[in-house]
């Protein structure tokens, strides 16, 4: 028995001792680790792909709020962005900053990982192209940051910053420093990127040129008084020209098509967020902006945004102006359709969209009666018969970023939509923008220009919109054209920021001159068909509301946050960071950019 015991004892100890290290070595079996990846060009590109969506997702909503709410394009009753009182306690404000910095961190790590781990199966062209794409995204993030927050710290390499232990002591870099850093980043990207990407929809050299042109145009006014720096303007012109004249890209012929799912990969698109529907594990992969812009009755899925809408000021810019007396503007069943961009930007009374609700559904109306949509989505019929209430107090809803219902998504993409998820790409730098950047760079500090290149670029945009060409253009012309061309593309605010760099009071005056009111009484007016009688018999022919009072009219009492002040041009830095790093509250410093290189 003793012998058996001894034997058992030995066995037991042996079991405990055998190759503990092997037993304890548990690599991640479900996922690649850094050192197994980046083994061919395809993997290098796959490492860059998330930069086209994931880290940007939490910026997305704020992007539209800043770009179009603050700037006066999109009305949201009482919203902090609309009132220009965004504060750091607002979810979108915090998300925006977290998101932009996540883009920077992810771009930095992609660069570092490719340098460290790329295997012999990769090619230099492939590695460079992947790194070049990452750099353009990094530059894009910084470009948004400098225009939103002004001075921000430069985080060139996250791993190194972590190693130095100085991560909580950074100062902000001066604004011109940040612009120089963006330029330096894009110049390297241009060097690395191919003229044509191996896959449509990716960033190529011309995407980088385009962004660089816009950066130079913006930067040209910084630190100036009344005029812009000619060298910067020349650069902007040079790079914009490359995109407009040399890239071989052509404008998407039909304006409305740019924002359709089937045109996700249009030539028009230079840089885009490439959303895709993916399961709920992959929150942040898909486009969810439609929910923010439509009513829940618009599609089979969530929606809560029908209460906001294109502002009266934007409507006026499109010619939909209410003069207070006759039925005009939104208070009229007749639409201004000369400029084709109007209908592609905002839906109003009388508009029917054949590419929304193309399954021609019959809905049960608010009164229980069936309502047919045989011609597609009819804005007035939808609110009047189905919802039973005219939600938007500006008389309009947004069209861009909207896919439609499930049938529309199926038709555009071949797959159904999911709740708060669709496949629509968001173009954040497109050819139309570059044409106008080109024209503005040529105009430069002149009061007007008839330069043939400027006229060419400017009139190409107008031709597509269906409006008359011009023979001489001024800053005002371009400012307005940009607004109409790029409304709800998260861009208009930065036109004010760009102007504020060298003409702050003019930028402010333009904001303060906007009509930021809304309407009352639209419901009664439209759905009692009051418009049929208005104007036919003086005072008595005014449509009436429930109390027998005249309707509709502009709601002069609507709070609009005006008048705005200069401080509105920079948003506060997130307060969480100030608690950790008090240096951020101090004056920005000069960074020595020569310490940074890209390899």
């Amino acid at each position: 028995m003793q012998r058996i015991n001894k034997l058992l004892l030995i066995v037991a100890i042996a079991i405990g001792m055998i190759s503990c290290e092997d037993f304890l070595n548990r690599p991640d079996k479900a996922n690649y680790t850094l050192s197994d990846f980046y083994q061919n060009d395809e993997q290098c590109f796959q490492a860059v792909n998330p930069l086209y969506t994931v880290p940007w997702f939490d910026f997305f909503r704020g992007w539209l709020r800043v770009g179009d709410c603050q700037s006066g394009n999109y009305f949201m009753d009482g919203n902090g962005f609309w009132m220009l009182t965004p504060n750091e306690d607002m979810e979108e404000v915090k998300n925006m900053s977290a998101s932009l910095w996540a883009v920077n961190a992810r771009a930095n790590t992609v660069l570092e990982n490719i340098n460290l781990y790329a295997g012999p199966g990769t090619t230099e062209t492939g590695r460079n192209a992947a790194k070049g794409e990452a750099l353009v995204w990094k530059a894009m993030a910084y470009f948004y940051m400098v225009r939103i927050y002004g001075a921000v710290p430069i985080v060139h390499n996250n791993t190194e910053l972590l190693a130095t232990g100085e991560y909580n002591n950074l100062y902000r870099a001066k604004i011109d420093n940040v612009y120089d850093y963006i330029v330096m980043t894009l110049e390297k990207a241009i060097e690395w990127l191919p003229e044509k990407a191996h896959q449509t929809g990716r960033i190529d050299q011309y995407s980088a040129y385009g962004l660089l042109a816009k950066v130079y145009l913006t930067k040209s006014g910084y630190g100036q008084n009344g005029t812009r720096n000619q060298d910067d303007l020349d650069k902007a012109r040079e790079y914009a020209r490359k995109v407009v004249r040399e890239s071989g890209r052509v404008l998407e012929p039909v304006y409305a098509d740019i924002f359709r799912g089937s045109k996700n990969l249009s030539d028009e698109s230079l840089i885009a967020w490439r959303w895709v529907i993916a399961g709920e594990t992959y929150w942040t992969a898909s486009n969810d902006l439609q929910s923010d812009l439509v009513s829940s009755a618009f599609s089979e899925f969530s929606g809560w945004g029908s209460w906001g809408g294109p502002s009266l000021d934007l409507q006026e810019a499109f010619g939909e102006k209410f003069d207070g007396l006759t039925p005009s503007g939104a208070i009229s069943p007749n639409r201004q359709n000369t400029d084709k961009r109007r209908k592609a930007t905002m839906m109003m009374y009388g508009d029917v969209y054949e590419y929304f609700w193309r399954d021609h559904p019959t809905k049960v109306g608010a009164d229980g009666q069936p309502v047919s949509f045989s011609g597609g989505f009819d804005f007035a019929k939808f609110y009047g018969k189905v919802v039973g209430d005219f939600n938007s107090s500006t008389g309009a809803n947004c069209v861009k970023h909207i896919v439609g219902n499930n049938a529309d998504h199926l038709a555009e993409f071949g797959i159904p939509m999911m709740d708060r998820k669709n496949n629509l790409a968001t173009h954040i730098l497109r050819l139309g923008d570059m044409y106008l950047v080109y024209a503005e760079a040529i105009l430069g500090n002149n009061a007007s220009t008839s330069d043939p290149e400027a006229l060419y670029a400017f009139n190409e945009i107008r031709k597509r919109a269906g409006v008359a060409e011009k023979t001489s253009i001024t800053f005002d012309d371009i400012f307005k054209e940009r607004r109409l061309e790029l409304a709800f593309e998260g861009d208009f605010w930065y036109d004010f920021v760009r102007l504020s760099y060298y003409k702050p009071n003019e930028a402010l005056a333009r904001l303060n001159a906007q009509n930021r009111k809304n309407y009352v009484g639209l419901n009664t007016y439209y759905f009692d068909e009051g418009w049929k009688t208005w104007g036919q018999g003086g005072e008595n022919s005014y449509p009436k509301d429930d109390n027998g009072k005249p309707a509709p009219r502009i709601n002069e009492g609507q709070p609009d946050g005006k008048p705005f002040t200069l401080s509105k041009f920079t948003m506060p830095f997130p307060s969480t960071d100030l608690a950790m790093n008090p240096n951020l509250a101090k004056d920005p410093i000069d960074y020595d950019l020569s310490q940074y290189t890209y390899e």
Binding site: M1, L9, A12, I13, I15, E21, L24, R26, D28, K29, N31, L34, F37, Q46, N49, P50, D58, D77, G78, D89, E91, N95, S97, W101, A102, A105, R106, N108, V110, N158, L161, Y167, N168, N169, L170, V276, T281, Y282, W283, T284, A285, S296, A297, E300, K363, G388, F390, N391, N406, K549, A551, R553, E556, G557, D560, S575, T576, L578, M580, P582
Partner: protein, 1060 residues
Amino acid sequence: MAQQRRITGTVMDSKDNSAMIGVNIMEKGTINGTITDIDGNFSLNVTTQNPVLVLSSIGYKTLEATIGNRSILSITMEEDAEMLDEVVVVGYGTMRKSDLSGASISVSEDKIKSSIVTNLDQALQGRAAGVTSVMTSGAPGSAVSIRIRGQATINAGAEPLYVVDGVIFQGGSTTGLSLGLNLGNGRGAISPLSTLNPSDIVSMEILKDASATAIYGAQGANGVVLITTKRGQSGKAKFTYEGMFGVQDQIRRLDMMNLREYAIYNHSIAATTGGTDGTPEYRDPSLLGKGTDWQDAIFRQALMTQHTVSAQGGVDAVQYYVSGSFMDQEGTIIGTDFNRYSFRVNLDANLKPWMKLGLNTMYSKTSERLGRAEGTEGVLTYSLLTPPDIPVYDAYGNYASTVREGYTRINPIAIAELDENLLDRQKLNGNIFMDITPLKDLTWHTELGYDISNSRSEQWQPTYDFGPAVQRPINRIYWQRNNNMYWQLKNYLTYNGRIDKHSFIAMAGQEVWESSWEWQRIGADNLPGNEIRNPQLGDQDTYQIADGMGDGAMASFFTRETYNYDDRYLLTYTYRYDGSSNFGPKNRWAGFHSAAASWRFSNEAFFTSLNSIISNGKLRIGWGQTGNSNIGGGLWGASLQMFPTGLGAGYKQAQIANPYVKWETQEQWNLGLDLNFLNDRINLVVDLYDKTANDMLMQLQLPSYFGSRGNGNSALTAPMGNYGTINNKGLEISLNTRNFTGDFTWDTDFQISFNKNKLVALSGTDASGIEGYGQWSDVVSLSRIGAPLYEFYGYIADGVYKNKQEIEEHLWGEIPEYGYDRYSTVFVGDIKYRDISGPDGKPDGKINTYDRTNIGSPLPKFTYGLTNTFSYKNFDLTLFVQGSYGNKIFNALSRDLTGMGYWNNQLKKAMDYANLIPIDPDKQYPVENPYNSGEMINNWFEDIDNVTLSNPDTKMSRAGKSLPYNNQRISTRYIEDGSYLRIKNIVLGYILPQRMLRKGQIENIRVYANIQNLWTFTKYSGYDPEVGINPQDATGYTFGFDQGRYPAPRIISFGVNLSF
């Protein structure tokens, strides 16, 4: 060979000469034995020459009876007053309680039983000094969060290690999210221990100080709870049945506005909001009824019932304990319930005189409907915000909704009853072990333990249609299956030695375990109907698949030496060496030492004269190290996660690697004193401790420019590493007195625990801290260096601005550039936050982020429990109160309910909103009413020079639409005193007299009535002051944040225990 001879006898209790049932009788030196029957009688064939019987029964002194020539015996047994010699489980062995030098505490079966306990962890509340137990939710089956001696770690799991009969109980995952449920943003609270049937438990030992937990080394840092289940004893089969039936309800209600009050509130806001017309129906509140009481609609009287049948007994070679139980509990919020089936078989077999085999097996199956009660999207918050003008059902019995201006809130009852979160779990847990005694006093214990569990969850979102604005035309389903497998193998040798007055136990052993898990999730949209819930029926293009897997392992070697000299001087030394797969090769292994000594001074010669007063006195001192490795696998490296993009598959780096991440190490000192007075009538245990966790495992706290904040998918997760130090100091007192003995007995148990927690150090700058979030990214707490963890962080509110002058004085005369505007600047009636600092560290006349400060700690100064047990003849009465003192609660629900919103219902106190009145009512500001054209109204409230408040002492802010000034900031407005005293349990029991039972062959029947949570004394205005960790915060850095938490119900129950 001696001759067999039959002896018979009776065993009686020395106290009252009553027959003793189930006394275990063994013939000494043999395996021959029996037990007494219902009349205390036994018979046994003895085989040895001078037979000696060993009689044992729990709670009585073991007795050896020499038989001599007698064949009929009458034996009396004495109660064991000296419980000191109780044998307790200590981890890898047992020890006499009197030999312990460390701090540990027992919770015995009777304590577990004296409260209704559906989950085992609930039994620890208020029962054990040093243990803070907080129910994370009042939902059936939900988890209790337990902290032994304070919060000792911040990120790596802080729950204690549970060991059931030697097998580490696998929690798997306690987050609803990881089981595939949609319970809100964060963790949800699924209790792994709810799979265990409390009736099977015979005792729980809680190991508190490091010298006690060090034997668990790397897994012992948060304390260890050793759970021992029942085992059979030789003798006739004994059957027991325990049945219970109870009714639960919610007794507290928040004071919400009813319809009439809501109408008054709504209409009066409209009157000072620039002509907003309000809702016409609200113009004459006297015509309105009370409306819907949504609290009554979502709360219900809920039933619960529990039945356990068990059998135990055995012959000399084999003993068994077998049980089966069923528990069914409805939740007090509609749409929630829980049920559990569990079975246990524990077997012991004496194979050879030197070899014993044991087998423990537990199988359980639970099913839950979890609903979605908590958080800002939870049914509770949602229903409170729903205006009282919507009925629950319309005239046709459908869920009603009222569409106003094209908008409605979805009927909360519909949400509660339609959307479902279902969870089924199964668990098989147990072990097989052998004790081999090759030499006298040497035992080799070898054991294979396992824990196999799986779960299946279902998230179901049916289609519905409550009118055009509120419909879901496409339904959705998800199924998720999780599988977990765990095994452990351990071997240890124990040698018991004794030479004269020196006795010692030496133990050395080895253990390895491996744990692996995997999950698969499938889902689909657009099923043809709501009847058959099968993802396969959904639209193929919406099929979703997700999966994951992982594993972990640990290898350990350990030893413990205890030495006892003359029962006066006791020494213990423990060492454990652990290797964990959670760490990289650089820091995989770590060793943990502990040493303890105690002096039983009452056994000293000089003390004998005092023994009549102090029957036992022991001084204990201990020091030890333990560790923590609970960070999950693979975090020392960096992996890439597949993520779909519009350009094809993407691979994104999940986290920043830190190959140097290593063990969190905790060091603890303990000083204890045990005193028993007056022949153990009074027992006092006092412990003082000081423990420090170094190299705390957590994610590095980085500023947002590092890119590591925000959405978990977007952010580049900060590296996991060793970045902090936490200290806990505390005092624990347990006092147990037996005030009366005899026919009338009265026992009192009192325990109180003081703990002081401090974050000592954190990597980064001095200014860094650990943020805790509410439901999303709102910072509600900040743990700062030098202060306790989880302190609430926000503004100090000093009432409201009464007039313009007050605003200008407070803000140093800074007038808004374009004047005051009630829609975009600060205005009369806004909350006046205290200006305490600025960028230069001094008040600056501005209210901004520099004015945030510590506004209260959610951690209690002390917690306590007091149990009084009375018995008289067949009656017994237990009264148990328990409480917490000095903790603050952030009442986030009240924040939502005093937001002065226009569309949502509010607390009644919101009617006292800062009410603007004109100073000069005659001054005219005519404007046209935008809602009523042609009508002129007087907009006096736009002129800040002409407004003041009718209720200047109000704590509520002004009401209206588009309020620019943030009156809902995290501030002292929502901080409330969370101290409470709760009458946790009152149990009245009656044991039916024996003579009534004889005929039915029944041994014993006890019936009882129990009231749990009868009443809570507290100043807290929410439902329930027992608010623990915030399950809605995914990081888990928020405590005491009440965001519509499921309140604990009152339970009235009746039960019967019978045995035959």
